[in-house]
């Protein structure tokens, strides 16, 4: 079977249009990013708490949470307004709460957020043991203290008797996220009947459980931002040098210009969709950098081979020929990567979604830039260098 047979598409003849359009897109993207840096009011790159610093709490509620009530409860914890949104499917009752820490402040907002939530939503719990927020060690202590099975009297160690029960209860919570009712304790067979009723007597059920808490100090955030920028810049440099050594200067410049285009265009897509940029997003960007050069190098490799085979032919024609010869490979490989990234994007869940989005956009952008940016730029630079060499030689003759 064959998707594409032999093609003779004059790709390079479209180079002026393609490069002009791309230059406009990249230029607009750079301006947009710069505007966002200079004026935070403008919605440009949306950095997540990994880079801005702040606190993020993912909570699961027993009943459908009232977002308005959450918002009013948490307003005032930080000078910035809290961002509160549903997470995943609505029937999971999960809410993502995000608070930014204003620059210059060191405050860890985790504690105040949890305390305020507890004061507002768990008022009925009071000082009782909240089975939805306490851990297995605390539950084990509670059981040891109550000693419903009268283990201490037999001389055995109460801690080793009750710890597995506490672990089993917490394992149940781990699987279900939250206890909706104390009757669910019947679903934990490890509990002895006496222990079960002891727990029922002593604990209360808070209305929420914490699924995840993240808190990043502004200083760490700024550090990470610097490191991420450095990592991307250095990997572009590394690729520039590698391609320079393996091929020639014009090709390495072509490859890096194409990569720069890929990164900026993908960032622009992130700005348009206002998706958040976090550590995994940067990981995806770097992957895209690697993947996109991969494509470019395959074409350059073919150009190098054809240059040896067809001496005397124009570089432009050789480039077109090479792109056409590798076209089916380019499309098939992009296709197989698409086959795996698309399910990841569609079914991977909220945590991984932006990551997959970057790869998805990068796949198309990288494919395009390989053909329409990398080779034309390499062509121009070679001609430029050739012209300069010619001039120098002419001067030398004189």
């Amino acid at each position: 079977m064959r998707i594409i047979g032999e093609t003779h598409i004059p790709f390079l003849s479209y180079r002026k249009i393609a490069v002009t359009v791309s230059a406009i897109v990249v230029g607009a993207g750079v301006l947009w990013i710069a505007a966002g840096v200079l004026n935070p009011q403008i919605k440009a790159l949306r950095f997540g708490i990994d880079f801005t610093g702040g606190t993020q709490v993912l909570a699961k509620f027993r009943e459908a949470p009232d977002l308005g009530r959450l918002r009013s409860t948490l307003t005032g914890v930080s000078t910035d307004a809290p961002i509160i949104q549903r997470f995943d499917e609505a029937e999971k009752h999960q809410v993502l709460i995000r608070l930014q820490v204003p620059a210059g402040e060191q405050a860890d907002l985790t504690r105040p957020v949890i305390d305020r939530l507890a004061a507002e939503f768990n008022a009925d719990v009071g000082r009782r043991f909240d089975l939805n927020t306490q851990g297995s060690q605390a539950l084990s202590l509670l059981l040891v203290d109550a000693d419903p099975d009268r283990v201490a009297a037999t001389g055995a160690d109460p801690a080793s008797h009750y710890a597995p029960m506490a672990d089993a209860v917490l394992e149940y919570r781990r699987q279900h996220g939250i206890f909706s009712s104390l009757d669910e304790l019947n679903g934990v067979p490890e509990l002895s009947p006496a222990a079960r009723s002891a727990i029922r007597e002593r604990v209360a059920l808070g209305s929420f459980a914490l699924l995840g808490v993240e808190s990043v100090g502004p200083a760490v955030g700024a550090d990470l931002k610097k490191q991420a920028t450095m990592a991307i810049a250095l990997s572009l440099m590394g690729i520039l040098i590698y391609v320079w050594v393996r091929f020639q200067l014009p090709y390495s410049i072509g490859a890096v210009v194409a990569l720069f285009h890929d990164v900026i265009t993908t960032l622009t897509a992130l700005m348009i969709t206002q998706r958040e940029i976090n550590l995994p997003t940067v990981a995806a960007l770097l992957t895209l950098v690697g993947y996109s050069t991969n494509d470019t190098v395959v074409i350059f490799d073919r150009i190098r081979e054809n240059l040896r085979l067809r001496r005397g032919e124009k570089l432009e024609e050789i480039m077109d020929l090479s792109i056409n010869q590798t076209l089916s490979r380019t499309i098939i490989t992009s296709g197989t990567v698409l086959l795996v990234v698309l399910p990841l994007f569609l079914f991977g869940g909220d945590v991984i979604n932006t990551f997959a989005f970057v790869l998805l956009v990068g796949l198309f952008v990288g494919c395009y830039s390989t053909v329409f940016i990398a080779s034309p730029v390499a062509l121009w630079i070679s001609r430029l260098l050739a012209a300069r060499r010619e001039k120098r030689r002419a001067r030398g003759r004189r």
């Binding site: 995840g212 990043v216 991984i352």
Partner: protein
Amino acid sequence: MDRKIIWRIVITLVVVGTAVFALVQKRIPLGLDLSGGIHLVLQVKTDDAIKAELDDAALRLKTLAGEKNLPVGEWSADVGALGFQVAVPAGTDRDALGQLASDYLSEYNVDAGPDTWTFTFKANVEAAVRDLAVRQALETIRNRVDQFGVSEPVIQRQGIESDRILVQLPGVDDPTRVKEIISHTAFLEWKEVLAGPAPSRDILLTRTGGQVPADAQVATEDREDESGAVAGKDYYLLRKAAIVTGRDLRTARRGQGQFGEPVVNFYLIPSGGDKFAEFTAAHIGDPAAIVLDGNVISAPVIRSRIRDEGYIEGNFDIETAEDLALKLRAGALPASISYLEERTVGPSLGRDSIVRGVRAGLVGLALVVVFMVVYYKLSGLNAVFALVLNLVLLLGAMAYFGATLTLPGIAGVILTIGMAVDANVLIFERIREELAIGKTVRSAIDTGFARAFGTILDSNMTTLIAALFLFQFGTGPVKGFAVTLSIGLLASMFTAVFVSRTVFMLVLAGRDRVETLSV
């Protein structure tokens, strides 16, 4: 059969066998984002240690000078200037004091002014004090975490000179409590009560004329109402110098008081016991304050001479009593610490991520397999075989090296599926081209593999360069991704180039003339 083919099969079997063995022997450790747990980066406020060192040196000077009849006045420490100043009255023998300073405070430069002497750190002392504080903090945190009972904790300094400490505790389901246990300074002191309790500072100080005496300090205790909420504060005037401190503790345990309420039992080391016995014998009927991090937690009346054991009451419940005992056993932190970064992942979230990631990966794998077989027919089957081996090698290598599997790492595995077939695609496309220009099957396969190899090497190298910087940059989950991606690429070069070639050779072996190739 050709010797060459046999060797290739042996090598393949050994490599794959090693990977399978590693997979069976060890399991791939899950990252915190999948297993659930807590990741903390904390900063040791080493300024606290500098301040403590300066105060300690000044106090030492004053005491020693007092013993030698060299009266010196008040002192004040300045952390920013890394030194302290002492007032030296006119009548003091300056030479004798200078001798004392060079004998006992050798780590300080002395600038003897007309009425104040300035002591500042000599070179390197500052760095040594800060370094020691971080190392002590590391040790204390390690003790506390060990006592708390977390399996496979990671507790390490971030960099040699750094004041940051990384703590990773997998499987912890109670992050708030753990955070409190780690960050609490827990510096315990027993102090003599000079006056108090009084409802306000002014009332407390009426007898001393509104002034705090030079050797005393004011401390407060939270007063609680029936329900346990803080209702106000009681003020105490305490002697600055402690009778004994947490350093004199041998151990501490949660116990029960007279009415069954939780208390913390403590046991002193012999030297501490001597000091305590001497003090309590002389002060029967007086209160002594138990001070934790500068706050009075209780001020019981001394009823008898106490030698080496006693108990601390406070407003404890079982958990706070247990935690305080733990912290006292593990020792106090030499400086306060703050949290720079915290990431807690509940295990249910991690489990959800694994299920979804694996599901997405299987769908992707199925699609790629179907495509390869439809598009390249039997050769496609060869590629699928290589792909499966690639996955086995990738997972085996991760198990062997103990590389952590994180959520982005799962994405890395999935991405590897998509990218690994690239090598096969390059080879097969090349073979098709060679066949198209009329080469025989054997020579088409030979040139196809030979020509494609250079391309595969170059194109994978660039991805490896990006992965290298990614590894160098990232925190846990991102590092996991970089590792998975790199191993996957290396494995794909082995399976697609070496193993697939072997399969072709095996198929063609024993046939003299091959007319067609299913590609």
